[in-house]
């Protein structure tokens, strides 16, 4: 993406603030005029009072000019602060909007898309990338107007004061642009390399810290250090290039600045000597000041180039994410489910592939009557876990139909569908907050009493009553203070508190101590009362009492029936049973 289009991207955010923006421009104008007036005042003092020796007369004096100078300084400083704060406030509210947009976008990304992103990448989009834009606003944009107006103002003032001298001064400009242009391109390419390397190094660090135990056990410290050294040295080499280019860029600007001044002095000397144009010394001196003022914004812009660069990259990355709007989930699209459904689940010739190519489910059909319990068993990759994701429409199926109480779920609103189907995943996720908040999960209609009841029914109350504060006990990040079994119980409580019609459970494989295991079994029993129950089983013992057991293999249902039927069939199920 070009910088131009970055501006175009950000413009819609700025448009509502047009009034403020114009006010800022007006302030900038005053700031610049007073900045421009300062050398002009010097010129007057030198030429009128010091060289020509005009006598003081009230304000028409060096004193008067001094006061005017101070006034300009005050005006420029004061308005400068106001303008900076205003522009920044604008920028910050834009950033707030962008941050919200990215966050909302991520909330509504379907699983199919989310699977493609690593969580780290998504987090970077919503945080660091927006933060880079922040630097753009607070470092660059605040001064951008001022710098540009200043450049124009100086050009006009110089031309008005002495057009010949002005034209002479401008001969430096092409060189400035040439240098900036050449070095800039190189700097940009190098910057990309440096950034890629540092992120690789940081990733390498993170990975090695996680895997350090293995590295130490296998004594691979030397190999890993070698790998690290290669990256670290490459990083050093490319930063050196950056240092050299930066070391060249800034001083070369000053050389051009100095050469232009020398040129002006030479020309001034000649014209004063020849007395041809009546050039005054004050004008010459003012010009040297203007040229310094002229080069400052250019230097500034060049210096801020890195910030602009990374802002462009970040904007690109943010919009890469945001532009993919077509696939966003609309939770409200479709028919809302008015009353609590019965909970009859039906798959009709369902075909599904995560990637449109490798089908994980092939022509799967089954019916689970309302209030019944069903279990899915089978080897890894047979497609059991996929069924969970399809029932609550985390993914769209390629062919066939999934029905809830006889209604195609693709016609139902996801919000209400998911409200009535509770899914407990293998890997229980707890949010930081209290136990109550984790059960309620934002649904304020769930009262404390209902939470209490849910915790009791799921046997979670057993261990919670030991905790100080009970259900107000704080859950640390990811619930690391609870055991796997306890987390499981909490997620059951979460499910039951939402009173779903259908309860889907992906059994945990983690080893859970016997006592908690018993609690879980009891809890599942309590949960199943008055609900349709789907269990993805990893332990055959837990599903013996299920009304129907579906045995899956390679994406198909190969056997079904209750435990006794299946054992009698002496097929895959019986084989699985005998293996343990």
């Amino acid at each position: 993406m070009r910088k131009g289009s970055m501006t175009a991207r950000l413009w819609p955010f700025l448009r509502p603030q047009l009034g403020l923006l114009l006010l800022c421009c007006a302030m900038v104008l005053v700031v610049n005029l007073s900045e421009l007036a300062k050398p002009y005042i010097l010129e007057i003092v030198i030429d009128r009072y010091l060289v020509a020796g005009r006598p003081d007369n009230g304000l028409d004096s060096v004193w008067g000019m001094g006061l005017a100078f101070l006034l300009c300084a005050g005006l420029s400083s004061g308005l400068n602060v106001l303008e900076a704060v205003a522009v920044n406030r604008m920028g910050q509210s834009v950033l707030m909007d962008i941050r919200r947009m990215v966050f909302r976008h991520i909330q509504h990304m379907p699983m199919r898309i989310l699977d493609r992103f690593s969580s780290g990448r998504l987090i970077t989009r919503a945080t660091n990338d927006v933060e880079t834009l922040n630097e753009l606003f607070s470092d660059v944009l605040v001064n951008l107007f001022k710098d540009i107006f200043m450049l124009i103002g100086i050009v006009v003032t110089m031309l008005m004061m002495d057009w010949q001298l002005a034209l002479l001064a401008f001969t430096g400009v092409p060189f400035v642009f040439l240098v900036t242009f050449i070095v800039r391109g190189k700097l940009r390419r190098n910057f990309v390399v440096v950034k890629a390397l540092i992120s690789r190094i940081n990733g390498f660090f993170a990975e090695n810290i996680s895997g350090m135990r293995l590295v130490q056990i296998f004594r691979r410290e030397r190999q890993k250090l070698k790998e690290f050294d290669e990256m670290n040295d490459a990083y050093y080499a490319s930063t050196l290039v950056q240092v050299r280019m930066n070391s060249f860029m800034r001083p070369v600007m000053e050389v051009i600045n100095a050469l232009v001044i020398a040129l002006l002095v030479w020309f001034g000397c000649r014209s004063i000597g020849l007395n041809a144009s009546g050039l005054e010394i004050g004008v010459l001196y003012a010009f040297t000041n203007y040229i310094r003022q002229f080069f400052e914004p250019i230097n500034d812009l060049a210096e801020k180039y890195a910030t602009i660069q990374s802002a462009v990259v970040s904007t690109e990355r943010i919009y890469e994410l945001l532009d993919d709007k077509a696939n966003l989930e609309d939770l409200n699209q479709g028919e809302p489910i008015a009353a609590r459904p019965q909970g009859k689940i039906e798959f009709q010739h369902v075909w599904f592939a995560y990637d449109d190519v490798n089908f994980v489910l092939r022509d799967v059909s089954f019916t689970i009557q309302a209030g019944q319990s069903a279990a899915f068993v089978g080897a890894t990759g047979a497609g059991k876990t996929t069924i969970i994701s399809l029932v609550s429409r985390f993914y769209e199926i390629q062919k066939g139909k999934i029905l809830l109480d006889g209604v195609d779920i693709s016609t139902l609103s996801k919000r209400t569908l998911r409200r009535h189907i509770a899914v407990v995943l293998q890997d229980v996720f707890l949010f930081s907050g209290t136990i109550a908040e984790n059960v309620r999960l934002g649904d304020e209609e769930i009262s404390d009493r209902e939470i209490d009841e849910a915790l009791r029914l799921t046997c979670a109350a057993e261990f919670i009553k030991e905790l100080p504060g009970g259900m107000d006990y704080p859950v640390t990040e990811r619930g690391s203070t609870f055991s796997a079994g306890q987390r499981q119980l909490l997620s059951f409580a979460r499910a039951i508190a939402h009173d779903p019609a259908v309860f889907v459970l992906d059994e945990a494989t983690a080893s859970i101590d016997t006592k908690t295991e018993q609690l879980i079994q009891q809890s599942v029993k309590n949960l199943s009362v008055g609900r349709t129950m789907i269990i993805i089983a990893h332990r055959l013992s837990t599903i013996r009492d299920c009304d129907t057991i579906f045995v899956m293999s390679a994406g198909r249902i190969v056997e079904s029936g209750n435990h006794d039927d299946l054992m009698a069939q002496n097929g895959l199920y019986a084989a699985l049973q005998s293996k343990a």
Binding site: L42, I46, Q107, S119, S210, L425, D506
Partner: protein, 579 residues
């Protein structure tokens, strides 16, 4: 200390940098004087053109000298700062490699690590830009002030610079204010990051309960905090520049009025007046950058402190000095009355543990979580130092065996199946180029993962991890088993390594390992499932760090203790397929 080590080796590179920096600052002051002289010359009724041209020549020469010295000091100082960054990062990495697991398991240190990595950048800024800015500022200001008072007029200098001390105090105070507000911005940013992090990691739950809107609500409060803290900071930080501008405006006004009257009184020349203004201009930037220097300095020093804190953590395990043991391990292990307590832990993790394992035999270990199984593995691998005289390999105390020899001799399969983001081949041979492809293939077959690997489009070159294919827990576990087998170690330790694979796979793996054990490899198998333990030559049951039962499968079954109970329970709960 790292800094001292760096300075000893590379510190001299700062010398030419500082030298050029001082020269540069000094030359930068000269053009103001030259310009003044030229103007003096030009205001004479009869201009000596030669003198003016000479002045112009000086201006050009000074410009070139400034360019050259500036380029040089920047390259030396900034370049060396980059070198310091690289140096510190490497030291950190090397140190990380030597730290024991105890350090990594300490959760607070996890943050320290993250900080230390990021802190290096701040240290570089201190020993690069901050260093240069302060030297440059001091020299430029000094030379300017000397030129003003010595070359132009003392009292004019005094009066004009009167506001500057006040300004410096203001800049320092305001810099403190900006830093405090910046800290709040960072806290707000950390809060937003934390929220986003949790949200994205829990996105499945959020979707399952249709909590998207609610999450947005929770996010919005933090988002607003970001706005308000940022605006508050900008209010302070954007006032800094204009404040400096205004107060120097006062200085310029004084120089204008007082300098003008001195000039008319004939005490200074027009050139002096112009030069004076030029000098004054040169002081503006150094004063303005005081706040920045203080900021960089305080951040850099805090960062250096944190970094040194991490580096101060001593490695727990030290290489044996006397290496009585020679040659590779043969597979005999003896543990004698081993008791062990983790540093800072109140209770012993192992109490009086003893066993003896002849080469080629297998030992099974059963026990609850926390019964001491993993501690035993840690000690056998010398990830922690066991007491002297308690762990022996082939009759030699573990402390008399080189770490290389010890760990090369043990194939270890951990409980968690961590793979590096690299190809499957690299993960199996674990970055050791000396391991041939054939060995990799054999190990893969023995770990019952070969068929899965060749089913991938890129076979053994398939990348796994963050950027590669996603493997199931069972697949990862089997690759980590292959990793342990690839060097055909005389001792194999499976640290609860089979719990993530289903019964069938467990059976297949144990079957192929049997050949391994029959070939003379000693094995220690830690497991929850009786099916994984029943064929071991000896089985011990651990509870609270003690051996509570020991014997063969048959003996233990007859005994009717914990082992038999567990076996009974598992027979009832016959286990099924894996998820």
């Amino acid at each position: 200390m790292v800094l001292a080590r760096f300075m000893k080796r590379h510190g001299w590179r700062y010398l030419p940098g500082v030298l050029f920096l001082v020269v540069n600052a000094w030359i930068s002051v000269l053009p103001a004087r030259v310009l003044g002289d030229v103007i003096d010359e030009m205001s004479l009724p009869v201009i000596d053109t030669a003198k003016v041209y000479q002045g112009i020549l000086y201006l050009v020469l000074a410009a070139l000298a400034i360019f050259l010295t500036r380029y040089l000091w920047r390259t030396f100082i900034m370049g060396n700062a980059r070198r310091l960054e690289t140096f510190m990062r490497r030291e950190l990495f090397v140190h990380f490699q030597s730290l024991s697991m105890d350090f990594y398991n300490h959760s607070a240190t996890g943050d320290l690590i993250a900080y230390a990595i990021n802190d290096i950048g701040a240290v570089r800024q201190t020993f690069g830009p901050a260093l240069a800015l302060s030297i440059n500022g001091v020299v430029t200001s000094l030379v300017s002030i000397l030129s003003m008072s010595g070359g132009v007029n003392g009292s004019l200098t005094l009066y004009s610079l009167l506001p500057v001390p006040v300004l410096i105090v203001l800049v320092v105070l305001m810099g403190g204010q900006v830093r405090a507000r910046f800290r709040r911005v960072q806290e707000a940013f950390a809060a937003v990051s934390g929220r986003v992090n949790e949200n994205i990691n829990g996105i499945r739950v959020i979707k399952a309960y249709a909590q998207e809107d609610n999450e947005l609500g929770r996010f919005e409060g933090l988002n607003r905090d970001m706005l308000s803290t940022n605006v508050a900071m900008v209010k302070a930080s954007s006032a800094m520049g204009p404040m400096v501008g205004f107060i120097f405006g006062i200085s310029f006004t004084i120089s204008l009025i007082y300098g003008g009257s001195l000039l008319r009184a004939g005490q200074i020349s027009l050139g002096d007046f112009v030069a004076f203004n030029g000098y004054l201009t040169l002081i503006v930037n150094p004063v303005q950058s005081i706040a920045r220097v203080i900021n960089l300095l305080s951040r850099g020093l805090a960062s250096l402190r944190r970094y040194n804190q991490v580096l101060a953590a001593p490695p727990m395990v030290v290489e044996s000095i006397e290496n009585a043991h020679e040659g590779p391990l043969k597979g005999g292990i003896q543990v004698k009355d081993l008791s062990f307590r983790y540093p800072y832990a109140p209770d012993f993790a192992l109490r009086g543990l003893s066993f003896r394992l002849e080469p080629g035999k297998t030992l099974g270990i059963l026990g609850h979580t926390g019964s001491g199984k993993t501690t035993l593995c840690n000690l056998l691998l010398k990830l922690y130092n066991p007491p002297e005289g308690s762990v022996f390999y082939d009759g030699a105390d573990i402390h008399q065996i080189q770490l290389d020899t010890l760990r090369e001799g043990i194939g270890y399969v951990p409980q968690d199946n961590f793979l590096f983001s690299a190809s499957i081949r690299e993960n199996i041979r674990f970055f050791d180029d000396l391991v041939g492809d054939e060995a990799v293939v054999t190990a893969a077959k023995q770990a019952d993962i070969y068929q899965n690997i060749i089913a991938f489009p890129n076979g053994f070159d398939t990348t796994v991890g963050e950027r590669g294919v996603t493997l199931s827990g069972g697949q990862k576990q089997r690759i980590s088993i292959a990793r342990a087998l690839v060097k055909r170690p005389p001792i194999l330790i499976l640290d609860d390594a089979l719990s993530a694979v289903d019964a069938q796979t467990e059976y297949d793996i144990l079957n192929s390992l049997r050949g391994f054990f029959e070939g003379g490899t000693s094995g220690i198998i830690v497991a929850h499932r009786i099916s994984a333990l029943m064929h071991c030559d000896e089985i011990i049951v651990l509870d609270e760090g003690r051996v509570v039962e020991r014997g063969s499968h048959e003996q233990l079954m007859q005994k009717g203790g914990f082992y038999a109970e567990t076996a009974q329970k598992q027979a009832d709960n016959q286990e099924g397929g894996e998820g």
